[in-house]
Structures are given as C-alpha cells and as structure tokens.
C-alpha cells in the first residue's frame, strides 16, 4: 500500500539552529511534493512545492530537497525562530494522476528561545 511517513515525535531545537524535517514515502511515484505549515486550530498554509525533476527549492529561510531514489524529501528552516514553531505537513501527488495530494500526519517543530 502507499504510505507517507513523517516523524511523529516533536523536533525540539534551539533558536538560531537549522531545523530539518523528513518526509519518506513508499510505493509512490510522485510528480511533485508539497510542504505546509499548520498552527494549532488553524488550516494548513502552503509553503513550497518541489517537482520530481528538481533536486532542491529555496524560499527565504526555507529549503526543500527531493530525492526520488531514496523516496525522501527534507525540509530545512535555517536560523530558526520561536515563531517557526508549528506542525509541518508534507503532501504527495501521484505522477500522471489527479492533482489531489495525499498528506502525511505532520511533524511538530518546537523552537526554544
């Protein structure tokens, strides 16, 4: 069966450090992968999309990598701030299929001042 795995344990880091979150998938051939941020009691907010032919994408302090051989995406936040504390979700779209993404359960990031 198809599966998306994100670390269920919260990631605790110190302010100023780089946070790295992982998204692994099995039995997918995604055309692209998305990352979202979700704050408690709120809807997810889209951050970045990376396509299968892209190795890396950057947006301000955010960097996403996509390794289709390892079936893994890494999401980095550099110079992290307490305001970056939230749950981060990855979502995959099937190659050649509809655009509708399937979401992982998310990983909670806590940045300590």
């Amino acid at each position: 069966s198809q599966k998306i795995e994100q670390n269920s344990e919260a990631l605790n880091i110190q302010e100023g450090k780089t946070a790295t979150l992982t998204c692994n998938y099995t039995n997918y051939s995604p055309a692209y992968l998305q990352w979202y941020r979700q704050d408690p009691g709120r809807g997810p907010v889209f951050l970045l999309l990376i396509r299968e032919n892209e190795k890396e994408k950057r947006k301000e302090r955010l960097k996403v990598t996509f390794d289709t051989t390892l079936k893994q995406s890494l999401f980095h936040i550099t110079a992290s701030q307490p305001a970056d504390s939230a749950t981060y979700l990855c979502a995959l779209n099937l190659s050649g299929g509809s655009y509708i993404p399937t979401f992982g359960r998310g990983t909670s990031l806590i940045v300590h001042p």
Partner: protein, 112 residues
C-alpha cells in the same frame, strides 16, 4: 483578492443529529473545491472534491455527503452524526496553475 470562508468555527452536536457545514470562496470562478477531515493525531483525510457545480467525487464511503449548489459554495452534510464523525473539518481550494491549496480556517466538530 481571493479568500475562503468556512463556518461555524466550532460545533457540538448530539449523536444522530444532522450536520451542515458551509464553505464559500471569493475572488475566483470555477475553483476546484475540497473537503478534508483531520482526526486527532491523524493526517488530513480527503472526503470529497468538486470540479464544478453539481459535480461531487467521494473518496471515502461514510455517512457524510457533499453538495455544490453554486460555483463558489461547497456544503458538507450528514443526516445522522456518529461519534466517529468528530474531528477538524477543512475546506480547501486550488486555483488553476497554483502550486498549493488554500485552506479555510476549519470547523471543530464534536459529536457527543
């Protein structure tokens, strides 16, 4: 500007009662609209999506239904709620060519 409205924000309903959640989108036409549910400690589960008025696709068989009576309106309904229907319901849309989805603020439904 393009916005998405979802209401109510919270809802407590008894088992067996009906449900109606509404989602409207402004500033766009013919959007693709989606209903997701997020149960505690679980990922977002796609319930329904619609590519146009009267066109509904169901992803998960259950006692919920959806309707799209107008281009920018998407309604989630149930005739009789179950305890397992409790969760955080999110409406979303995606404009053509956009990289990501835009989600509403969600409705926290508690069935008691």
């Amino acid at each position: 500007s393009q916005t998405i409205h979802q209401w109510p924000a919270t809802l407590v309903q008894p088992v067996g009662s009906p449900l109606s959640l509404e989602c409207t989108v402004e500033g766009t036409s013919n959007p693709n609209l989606y209903w997701y549910r997020q149960a505690a400690g679980r990922g977002l589960q796609l319930l329904f999506y619609s590519v146009g008025i009267g066109q509904i696709s169901s992803e998960v068989p259950q006692n919920l239904s959806a309707s799209r009576p107008q281009d920018r309106q998407f309604i989630l309904s149930s005739k009789k709620l179950l305890l397992s229907d409790s969760g955080f319901y999110l409406c979303a849309w995606r404009s053509q060519g956009a990289d990501g989805y835009t989600f509403g603020s969600g409705t926290r439904l508690t069935v008691v």
